[in-house]
Symmetry: C2
Subunit: 216 residues, 2 copies
């Protein structure tokens, strides 16, 4: 390789792997996993098929799981939010990033969560469940709850599932309503969910009082 041709410089193993995963994720964003072949990934990345196989000797299943892990890491970053200011606007900012993520991964996000895909395994389910758990932990931490009781945990997990359902419908309906409207709606539903639980659970009642007091 000549140093005069930097565009063709040899990528490091890590760089090449990232490039292939990015190419795979952009294909999964527009087609169901069944319709993406390693040939397509090679073509999208501008490399040979043997090179894709060298990095992912387990074939499409291995590539899919690696791409899913990359996406899961990206999604976890959406939840990073400073512990500053009132909690519900923090949730709104995290949801903004989350909806951007959903829009970017589009078909891949739907295929993953809708189930019944040939590439779905107990491993892919475990990766998705790990992200759900991380989302719940972030919520508890922003609500300053060290030990969430069963009713609060159920409420938070129900809301997270409801958000996933909303995201799938949103993609199905050409991203209507607009992201900002959906985000505010989801935040309001979270507050409503917590308030319903607060009538039955002292821990939730206390944190709702605290969070709403911080708003004003």
């Amino acid at each position: 390789m000549s140093p005069a041709a930097p565009a063709y410089r040899r990528l490091s193993v890590e760089e090449r792997r990232s490039q292939l995963l990015e190419a795979a994720l952009s294909l999964f964003a527009h087609r169901v996993p069944e319709d993406v072949s390693l040939d397509d990934v090679a073509e999208a990345a501008g490399v040979s098929r043997p090179l894709v196989y060298r990095y992912f000797p387990g074939g499409k299943q291995q590539l899919y799981e690696a791409a899913l892990r990359t996406a899961a890491d990206e999604l976890r970053h959406c939840f990073d939010e400073p512990h500053e200011g009132p909690p519900f606007p923090r949730l709104a900012r995290a949801l903004d990033r989350y909806l951007t993520f959903v829009a970017r991964h589009d078909a891949g996000f739907s295929a993953l969560l809708q189930g019944g895909s040939v590439v779905e395994t107990s491993r892919t389910t475990a990766i998705v469940d790990g992200v759900r758990r991380a989302a719940a932990e972030h919520i508890y931490s922003h609500l300053d709850v060290a030990e969430p009781g069963p009713r609060l945990r159920m409420t938070v997990r129900m809301w997270i599932t409801a958000v996933e359902a909303a995201s799938l419908i949103w993609l199905d309906e050409d991203k209507q309503p607009p992201a900002e409207e959906l985000r505010d709606w989801l935040v309001d539903q979270f507050v409503a969910f917590l308030s319903v639980t607060a009538a039955r659970d002292a821990q939730t009642a206390e944190l709702v009082r605290g969070a709403l007091a911080a708003e004003t």
Copy 2:
């Protein structure tokens, strides 16, 4: 077969099929599908393995899908509720039947909805989605909505998904809180969900007014 031995009379094809499916469902209620063999089903039904294969030549996958269809039909019946009286108590009665169904099918219900199972296919996903759609249609009909708009549809589908999440957690936590408490909580969350949407959607606002007026 002697008419003096009615306990051993030959079952009709339909009766035998139902018996095998019931045996399968009771096994799936306590073990993940992976751990249920056709031998187990034969033993539970008190018949020979070849007989099970005669009814389900496609093996466990076919038996699983047939059992799932039986369970899905049973679940649809839970939604049958006369169009009489205020709507939210109707929802409460349907939820009572639903939670009885969930408790009865226990592990089978969890395995099905948690995903990543080896017996999950696009067909099993389609069966489950069919039940979800039926549940949503029942809700619209009880709310006297002929043409639900996008916001109402999203709200109803989010709540249905949240109920599924609550059911899984409930099974995980040894059916705590008690079914009646969970049922009331879910109804209250439905009302809260609708109310949040009502602030953004005229159709939902009108039906919430109507439903709450019918309560009193």
